[in-house]
Subunit: 341 residues, 2 copies
Amino acid sequence: MSATGKRIVLASRPIGEPKPSDFRLEECPIPTPGAGEVLLRTIWLSLDPYMRGRMSEGPSYAQPVPIDGVMEGGTVSEVIASNNPAFTRGDIVLSRAGWQTHAVSDGKGLSKIDPNIAPISTAVGVLGMPGMTAYTGLLDIGKPQVGETVVVAAASGAVGSAVGQIAKIKGARAVGIAGGKDKCAYVKNELGFDDCLDHRDPDLAAKLKNACPKGIDVYFENVGGAVFEAVFPLLNAFARVPVCGLIAHYNDTQAVAPKWAPALMRNVLTKRLTIRGFIVSDFAARHGDFLRDMSAWVREGKVKHKEFVTEGLDSAPAAFMGLLKGANFGKQLVRVGPDKT
Amino acid sequence: MSATGKRIVLASRPIGEPKPSDFRLEECPIPTPGAGEVLLRTIWLSLDPYMRGRMSEGPSYAQPVPIDGVMEGGTVSEVIASNNPAFTRGDIVLSRAGWQTHAVSDGKGLSKIDPNIAPISTAVGVLGMPGMTAYTGLLDIGKPQVGETVVVAAASGAVGSAVGQIAKIKGARAVGIAGGKDKCAYVKNELGFDDCLDHRDPDLAAKLKNACPKGIDVYFENVGGAVFEAVFPLLNAFARVPVCGLIAHYNDTQAVAPKWAPALMRNVLTKRLTIRGFIVSDFAARHGDFLRDMSAWVREGKVKHKEFVTEGLDSAPAAFMGLLKGANFGKQLVRVGPDKT
């Protein structure tokens, strides 16, 4: 073990798109765990769109990262020293250690990962927060019925890919939207969506209409922007719109009224739409159901997942900036350290 | 019985506010009921904001009234001739006979009203569609909890008055919004709302903030416009917004993006709002619960109601145009005929 670790802190709050100078890589002494504490070594760092929100001030469901604070993030970590009887050296745990190679924890909020059940990286992917976001948002708010049409964007990503595959399991028609030919082909051919459209296509609205001949019953909203504009006129009576993200807007420097805005409430009324925002922790009580179902679906090959890995903590800022533009193809992970030292 | 009846038909589709020439009063022979039919004499005609929607073409949850067609509406009617074994001369029934003195019905959709239980006019008011709209929207979508704050506009009207009083029964704080000093005083002093504000007050937003020191948990949306603008920034995390009407917009000739539009979806996400449109028939299964609870509350004096009556079918167009501007004070009814002939 080297005597120094590394961390990435928020150097400045981005205006619009984050740029490299908004992040700062620092070397720092590896901390020493105190009484009741454990020392964690990061193996996998998960990068997720919500982190853009944490870089900004302003009201949200969570506090922003302070300037000079370590960027937040979920990690898969190894316990490399323990003064806590609940943890042993060598334990693999799910943590919120953030963008750093090492962290100290009092054990609260850590959960052990069994490496024999599934690759440990899935604990921040299909069997973790993104998978559970898809599961709860789709099933508890979207409630797709047999024969209904479910639309989801970022369909090759960690959340969207699970949404469409779960929709198929429930007997619904799944239509994805993704960026580019390769992702669309993967979503259709590998993940088994009924159709997948390119959000860069200038004819997106017309093509989406063709792909949803019976309209849209569930739109799982994780992007906003042009996709919602195309979806909005196609929503059926009693359609449900779970909202868990708006990645198309996270870099907005000014808020502009969307094209659908003048007609929104009238449509909510006449079509009896349900629009409901959520974050995964709202459904904490469903964690057991999620793990049971999703583990089985992954094991049976009914839910496939793809990882997109960049190497080394240093790669995190560029990888994150890429994620906001859709440069990743699958769940974005940073390999911070080896599985075993 | 005179040999001729009267009816009011839609003469032309209004552009913006309906005007007298959009309606036409006609004399017509009183129809003769055929086999299995009954002849109805209208006693009370209910006027309700939704009727503005039926005057326009364009997508809604119901078909528009055709040009030259009788204006739609709920009525309390007397059976004055019956060829249907289910009904007897003298029965008082709830009907959708529309804006006319007489109508023929095959009996489908009629329901008998017991004049001994409550004044028969309540069947189109507090114990009818408006009351049930309040009951189901508030309880099944709004779900007010003890100590939460419920805001409703048109608070002296048929729906709003019931919403606030049911909120109080459920232990919530009820804040009404109404047009003018007299209505506000009635809502506070007679109906027992915790507060009531005048929507014409230029300081509405600031006053609403003062009246809701702990924010707003349920906003029962039946008006839109400036009221929703004032409400929107005060919505708490997990707030629920049942949407049953948008009377402020029914006369809009062009749709304009509301001030809250650029921030709507971001707030839906970060505050995990639920916005859900409904019409009362979506909750038909709750009719028994509604009648049981609301009848008891009215009997016990926990839900008070006020009627605003204009005399004669001829008065309906002016009364309806007034309703859209808030000229009524209480449930708007037209006395079309006497209780007994």
